[in-house]
């Protein structure tokens, strides 16, 4: 579409339709369909209710939306990958500015210096958080970032086997399995022990066939893994260590880059983006500089123009499929610019101190909650490993039933783990962010006591 052209989303008139039929020499639209066997045709009009007036439609949709249970109408202790961190109001105000409100890197990217600059700032901040040299412009979400990392480990090492920690999000593991199915990369899952990856089992599994070792930090159960231990095992056999992080936790924890991670990925939703069923979320992707040629995704670089002025460009595009075709590092050719911008605004606003505070408040409140909830008769922490803002509780009654009863009291009590791991069918995963108050945590404990009594 050229500038000045107008795309009109307006249906055709009966006169236009008649003209089109006349042009192709057909009597009516029905004649175009006569090749379709009658038994495959519906034979009546679609049962669609009559059109509503705009006022009716708005209240109808409002009523439907009100049937959703959402984090703002409930006290949310659910996590498992997406978290109810506070989204400062300035984030939306800046995001919704028309200059930014497009999810795409423009097709002539260098024309949009402002967009490229925000992506460059985003990349820089994520590098600082993860302790890595390079970060791409983002991928779709934490799961696809992890899967791309598995493919990248395969590309770098020219090996096939992917070793995955059993304490890594089972949902993210499913994405990895889906991505690895095409190239037929075999996946080995290493069991957990007391809530963390069993390093003895890991050492026995990793070999000269292993391309990458995938762990999560903090892991799916909220516990802190021994990254140095995992890195030593991976590197001993020439495999890459891939670490999936919660970026909020990195406000407090040592960057995985310092522990020897080769690729760091993560779900970035918690950085200034609201919970949303189905996303869009934010895939963080960082790596060491030596691996940059194998990195997937778009990459913004800083440069100078002929007059020496600073500018931003898409760089190293020879990795990408519009140039390298079937030899590209990945088939991803876009990013989630707007969600990444949300994270950039959030991190700029928080700064080092603010992020540290969000992280330490979340930890302190989570540890308080673990204490208080464990005092409920029959309820106990499932694991002893140190945790960040999430922990696993063993319940004396069916977690599904307990969570349903809590939901009636407007408490989203956590994620039942039975669907992911039979061994944890009596357990619930509880997340506590900086948004939860002492009163809310105490009220949760009280409600839980009543429900399990």
């Amino acid at each position: 579409m050229r500038h000045g052209d107008t795309m009109r989303y307006i249906g055709t008139t009966p006169a236009q339709r008649a003209e089109m039929l006349r042009t192709i020499g057909v009597a009516d639209v029905e004649a175009l369909l006569e090749r379709i066997p009658s038994k495959a045709r519906l034979g009546r009009d679609l049962a669609v209710s009559p059109a509503l007036a705009e006022t009716e439609l708005v209240s109808h949709l409002g009523a439907l939306a009100a049937r959703n249970a959402h984090a703002d109408g409930h006290v949310c202790f659910m996590g498992g990958g997406a978290y109810d961190h506070y989204v400062p109001s300035v984030t939306n105000h800046l995001l919704l500015r028309s200059e930014f409100f497009t999810a795409y890197t423009p097709y002539q990217p260098e024309a949009s210096q402002g967009t490229l600059r925000t992506i460059y700032e985003y990349q820089t901040m994520i590098c600082e958080l993860t302790g890595m040299d390079v970060t791409n412009a983002s991928v779709y979400d934490g799961g696809s970032a992890l899967a791309e990392a598995a493919l990248m480990a395969h590309g770098v090492t020219e090996r096939e086997q992917i070793v995955v920690s059993g304490a890594l999000s089972p949902l993210a593991r499913r994405v990895v399995a889906a991505y690895c199915a095409g190239p037929r990369l075999p996946i080995k899952v290493v069991p957990w022990r007391d809530g963390v990856t069993d390093l003895d089992a890991l050492a026995k599994t990793v070999s000269a066939k292993t391309a990458g070792v995938l762990v999560q930090y903090p892991n799916f159960f909220g516990a802190l893994e021994d990254l140095d231990g995992a890195a030593a095992i991976a590197h001993k056999h020439g495999a890459l260590l891939v670490v999936a992080v919660d970026p909020i936790a990195l406000g407090l924890l040592r960057p995985p880059g310092e522990a020897g991670a080769d690729i760091v990925v993560g779900e970035g939703q918690g950085l200034g983006n609201h919970l949303a069923y189905g996303g869009p979320y934010l895939g963080l992707f960082s790596c060491r500089k030596e691996l940059i040629r194998r990195m997937p995704g778009r990459l913004v670089g800083a440069t100078v123009d002929r007059e020496g002025r600073r500018g931003f460009v898409l760089t190293l595009q020879t990795r990408e499929q519009h140039i390298r075709r079937e030899k590209a590092t990945s088939n991803i050719c876009t990013n989630v610019a707007l969600v990444a911008l949300g994270a950039t605004i959030y991190l700029s606003l928080m700064g080092k101190e603010g992020l540290r505070k969000v992280a330490s408040l979340s930890t302190a409140k989570a540890h308080y909650a673990a204490q208080v909830l464990s005092r409920v008769p029959g309820v106990a922490p499932r694991f002893g490993a140190p945790f960040f803002k999430e922990f696993v509780l063993k319940l004396p009654k069916s977690p599904d039933r307990v969570l349903r009863a809590l939901r009636k009291q407007k408490i989203l009590g956590g994620v039942a783990l039975g669907a992911y791991d039979r061994e944890l069918r009596d357990c619930v995963l509880v997340a506590v962010t900086e948004r939860r108050t002492r009163a809310e945590i105490d009220a949760y404990a009280e409600a839980l006591a009543a429900v399990v009594a």
């Binding site: 020219e158 040629r293 020879t318 140039i323 390298r324 030899k327």
Partner: protein, 131 residues
């Protein structure tokens, strides 16, 4: 050294091979580096990898283009020019010397017959002009 040394054998894809006993050293020609412009990255196989005649063994990337590198001869890679990782510009500066890429143990020296001499290669450049 002239543009196309006599002792080398050439491919239609603009690689050269220099026989050194049972081995052959491989690189790209003066013409190739000139057409590519400034080389910014060279991706080469690891020692121990097997290459086959006229199959891709690596990639050369310049400010203008990305191109596959084709093996003039089949064999096993016994040495790789690691210095190209840090200084890929050697491919431009000295394509037959410091800019060499890999050394292979030849699997079948008869394959040399399929390659061009310096005179044939120059003739080929004049007629086809490469591509």
């Amino acid at each position: 050294m002239g543009a196309y040394p006599e002792e080398l054998r050439y491919t239609r894809e603009h690689e050269w091979a220099k026989v050194e006993g049972p081995r052959a050293r491989i690189g790209i020609t003066q013409y190739a580096q000139d057409q590519l412009g400034d080389v910014v990255f060279v991706e080469l196989p690891k020692a121990g990898a097997k290459v086959s005649q006229m199959q891709s063994f690596g990639v050369v990337e310049s400010v203008k283009a990305v191109s596959d590198l084709f093996a003039p001869l089949s064999g096993e890679v016994v040495e790789v020019n690691q210095s190209l990782t840090e200084r890929p510009e050697q491919v431009n500066q000295d394509p037959y010397g410091a800019g060499w890429m890999i050394m292979i143990a030849m699997a079948n020296p008869k394959e040399l017959d399929a390659l061009m001499s310096a005179a044939q290669y120059e003739e080929y450049l004049k007629s086809a002009g490469g591509h």
